[in-house]
Symmetry: C2
Subunit: 183 residues, 2 copies
C-alpha cells in the first residue's frame, strides 16, 4: 500500500472525467409502428457468443415503452457529419415529435428485425430483446445481435463529453470535435 | 425508406469498427485476500440514482470467481503513462501471477469497500455488487457505486482499439496513441 493523491468526487464530476462515453442511437417502433430513435450514452457489448449488447434506459423514457412493446432495437453508430441529428435524437422526446425526420435521418428496412435501420449510420447492430435487469432508476436491456451492417472504411463515430458535447473518433484513434448546434 | 450502402459485417469486424471502447481495470480480491486486477473493455454506467455501473465478465475468467467471492469491485480508469501496466492486467491471468506487481501498480485502501484501489489510477469507482444477469458466455454484474475518488485535472485515460492497442483520450477530447509493449 502506498500514498495517494486521489480526492473524493461527486457522481456528476466522475461521469464528466470518465468521458468521452460512446454515443449511439437506438431505433425502436411504438404500438402504431412509428419508428423512434433514442440517444444512448450508456451501453456495452456483453457476450461474444452469441453476440449480445446491453443498453441502459431511464424508466420514465418514452423510448423505453416503445422498446418494451416492439422487443427489438437497432443500435446505430452515427458518423460525425450527422452529429447535429444525433444530438436532436438524444435530447428531444419522441412522444409528440418525429425525431428521425426532425434530425434529418431516413430509414431503410433492416435485414432481420422489423424495426428499421438509420440509412445514414456507419454501423448497425440489429437486436432482439433477450433479457433485462432493473438497476436503480434505469433498466438494463440485453439484446441478442441477429444481423450487422456497416459503411465502407472506418468512419469516425460519436462519443459524448458528459452529454454536453459530442466528439467523433475513428476505430484507428483519429478524433475531431463535433459540437452539435441545438436544433 | 431510402437506399443504403451498408454491407453485412461479421461480429469481429463490427467490434473493431465500434472501437475505441473505454478500457478500465477492475480490482477484486480472492479468497486468500490477494488483490487482483482485471481488464474490462465491456462496461457501462447503468443508473443515475443510486449511482450504478455494470461490467461484463467472461464466465471462465479467474477474476469472475474472485468477484463472486468478495462481492466488491473498484473500477479504476488508468492514465496513458500506465498503458503498459493496464495492458498486462488485461492480458495475463491472475490465477498464478500477481498481476498488479507485474504491471507496476501499487494499491491504497479504498474509502468504503475492503478491496483496495490502484494508487496510480485517475478515477476510481468503489462498487458493491447489487445484481447480475447471465448473457451468453459472459455475466453482467451490476455494482452500486458507494465512493468515488479521482486525480486532479482531466488526465487522458485509456480506450481499446478492439483489444489490440490502447488509445488515451481526455474528458475534453484530446487523444494520443498509447500503444503498450507486451511485457
Amino acid at each position: 500500500m502506498s500514498e495517494t493523491e486521489l480526492r473524493e468526487l461527486s457522481w456528476d464530476e466522475a461521469i464528466t472525467l470518465a468521458s468521452p462515453h460512446p454515443y449511439v442511437l437506438g431505433v425502436t417502433a411504438d404500438a402504431a409502428g412509428k419508428p423512434n430513435a433514442l440517444g444512448l450514452g450508456w451501453w456495452t457489448i456483453c457476450s461474444w457468443e452469441p453476440p449480445m449488447m446491453a443498453v441502459s434506459l431511464g424508466k420514465r423514457r418514452y423510448s423505453r415503452q416503445a422498446l418494451e412493446y416492439c422487443r427489438e432495437l437497432v443500435v446505430c453508430l452515427i458518423g460525425e457529419e450527422h452529429a447535429r441529428g444525433a444530438w436532436i435524437c438524444g435530447t428531444k422526446s419522441g412522444r409528440k415529435t418525429d425525431k428521425l425526420a426532425l434530425a434529418g435521418f431516413t430509414t431503410v428496412p433492416s435485414l432481420v428485425v422489423k424495426v428499421p435501420t438509420i440509412a445514414e449510420c456507419v454501423l448497425a447492430f440489429e437486436c432482439q430483446l433477450a433479457g433485462e435487469l432493473e438497476t436503480g432508476d434505469h433498466i438494463l436491456y440485453v439484446g441478442k445481435v441477429v444481423a450487422i451492417r456497416g459503411a465502407a472504411g472506418s468512419p469516425k463515430h460519436l462519443y459524448s463529453l458528459h452529454y454536453r458535447k459530442l466528439v467523433a473518433i475513428s476505430a484507428t484513434g483519429e478524433v475531431s470535435l463535433a459540437v452539435p448546434h441545438e436544433g
